[in-house]
Symmetry: C2
Subunit: 477 residues, 2 copies
Amino acid sequence: MFTYSFESKETKSLYLQLYAFIKADILGGRLQAGARLPSKRAAAKNLGVSVITVENAYAALQSEGYVYSLPKKGYYVSEIAALFPAAAKPLPAVQEAPRETDPAYRYSFAANGIIPENFPFSIWARLMRETLNTARAEVSAAPPSGGLTILKEAICAHVKQFRGMEVTPAQVIIGAGTEYLYSLIIQLLGGEKTYAVPNPGYAKLARIYESVGVKCAYVSEDAQGMDIASLAHSGAHIAHVSPAHHFPSGTVMSISRRHELLNWAAQSEERYIIEDDYDSEFRLSGRPLPALQSLDSAGKVIYVNTFTKSLSPTIRISYMVLPRALTGRFYERLGFYSSTVSSFEQYTLAQFIRRGYFEKHINRMRNYYRKIRNCLLEAIQSSALAALARVSEEEAGLHFLLHLRTDAADADLKQQAALAGTEIRFLSEYYRHTSPAIPAHILVVNYSTLRMEDIPAAVKALEKVICESNSNLAELN
Amino acid sequence: MFTYSFESKETKSLYLQLYAFIKADILGGRLQAGARLPSKRAAAKNLGVSVITVENAYAALQSEGYVYSLPKKGYYVSEIAALFPAAAKPLPAVQEAPRETDPAYRYSFAANGIIPENFPFSIWARLMRETLNTARAEVSAAPPSGGLTILKEAICAHVKQFRGMEVTPAQVIIGAGTEYLYSLIIQLLGGEKTYAVPNPGYAKLARIYESVGVKCAYVSEDAQGMDIASLAHSGAHIAHVSPAHHFPSGTVMSISRRHELLNWAAQSEERYIIEDDYDSEFRLSGRPLPALQSLDSAGKVIYVNTFTKSLSPTIRISYMVLPRALTGRFYERLGFYSSTVSSFEQYTLAQFIRRGYFEKHINRMRNYYRKIRNCLLEAIQSSALAALARVSEEEAGLHFLLHLRTDAADADLKQQAALAGTEIRFLSEYYRHTSPAIPAHILVVNYSTLRMEDIPAAVKALEKVICESNSNLAELN
């Protein structure tokens, strides 16, 4: 029988005290596995507490598995003592999350971001408030798997006007970032397929494919876009391209190459094209090219775009547009997934697009980037770099190439620049190590996060690095 | 030489008109591949427009690939005519997105959701407004890969207080829903591993694993939790369990089984446990059980939980807590992924937790669900079901089991109920078809979306179905 002495029940309820006493006896081995606990009535009488108190303590012990009950027999101690792990080892170290940006750089010609002030924050905040006040029912419910219809409709209208695409809301799938959408595409088209990524290209892309265990083929690019002979030769089933503006080479895929690519896809049922249209909004001069998707009569193009790049990094909303014939497969196989974007943010974005704020923002940003680019180009032209560098691919979106006349190695220049507090990146860094001919001395100049007021000093820093590293400067001049 | 006649340039700029004329000639085959365009100067003179106009038109044609230029030679028509696809086929049908809920049911004992009104919408809205006003810089930037530190810290404090877990912010990873986090876990632990899911269990779980192409083992459950002998026999490397409250059986994993499971995991470096703690907040009586994670001294438990179930379906924020030793592997291999939740929602949720609103909400909801459950149990007890049904597993979270005395088949009862506008689901539906012994006549009664005022009518409807389908009613009584 139990012999426990209770503290005042003001401190801790009697049943919890009893629970703790018995638990300690079980863990300490004083109550052995298989032992029968006293009946509730007997224990209550013995301890001078109510039956309810004992009942509650036994129930708590049972719910945690320390005791079990047999119908009409009573409570027994569980077999647990032997199972406790050996003495705790010292805890392994926790690796901290890495910092997003390297604060050591004063200027960056490499960052691929957005300056937060350019986001129309007060309009967005107003629409959020409005959504909270007027659309409570809509935003309290779980969004359907593919996204809110109101946002899908707004996106249909947008891509019709700006990208020449005729699509219906059911073809549009909303997701929390393009990276997430790629994982859906892989599930839709098959993880056993080979995915062609451009070389040179955005390293993260191949990393995503490889992280989920699908095979990547690296396909070379020429001046018109992805090389179709290499693509065909690679054995890839799916080609991942950015026809509007290839990163980092800046190539706009030619009309003829677009048709060659569509023809390649049409040759086999398994083939598809992922059109990653990530910065098509920011073509700075000339007419915007229609999307590859709008030329696709065979249902082979999956179009992907994001608001994270065109609006703000705080908005984690991307979308894809499926070929009509794939919508059935999508909802059947993947329609069980919950949407990854809250109804609230989907609804706010829908209002932002419907009321024309998105279009206005894009126009404003295009002007802004044009100014930054022109100012940067002028600063380069009026520096010593003018004699040592040639600019190309400066028309479509947020970066251009700077071909340097130098005999220094790219890695050395990069290091010199870093020492001078300036981040630069070369085209050669976007090639696979194994590529046969990697072009040297071509800078990929990304000006999306460069501030107007920093341009003179940033160009000065770059000029100094390039001139000083160049031992044959006099000769080149 | 060109012979085009322009409209007034008020209607459309001259260069766009010229662009359209030449493009139409190329597409119509009147200008053949390889043909040289007139020089800009000659064309300008001939057409009576400025050289700039011709320059702009040629540049637009070139950027779209209709023409190409050879240095010092001029512009030539591209090889494109042959590439245009054959006459368009009729468009394939678009399958519409399925509806989320079946509106045909008047009452549901099966829905696994939340009643939107229970979400403290006005507090949430106030915190959102405050965030917009005061944390503009924080929410305009891209969140770090694993999530905002302020939210990770709030989660650490929460799981310490409520689940007995001692963890640091770097171990916490934020993601847009548990389904997304599972995909990260698979990438972290390996897609070639076998993942054990409980049988019976939540069908979606196996569907997610199978959709991303990993092998699932179905492991049976007994009254204490996942069966360890079956688990060992299955060859699985990773066990996916919900120790706090298994769905649908309602089992709380016993302390001894928890230790057996931890011992199983400790036996091989490849083994891990995913602790899916999805509704641990809603234990309705007794003391909450500490998380399995808090017993884990070997670094084998990945803890997963979501705010979508505990707060509102509109909040797509989930988190996982990695063992200390896995944090390095996570940031190295998967730290390149962008966060899937906007800084804005992460920041708002952090405030909601820090200021105690989350705790208050959980307490309020626990009381609310207790009332609903008690009212539902009373309604059952005072109906004809009392003689035909026994309740079990009513303590932990949002559903209980109703063991029916009946000779009707589960499928027939389900159909009868559906005809009467009532959705019910049997435990047997959560078993794999191939399971050896599937228990019949056990209803999984989920009351999370049942409204207080609907309970009498809903129970009446259920009573009618069960009584009428039971041909031996008199005999059983």
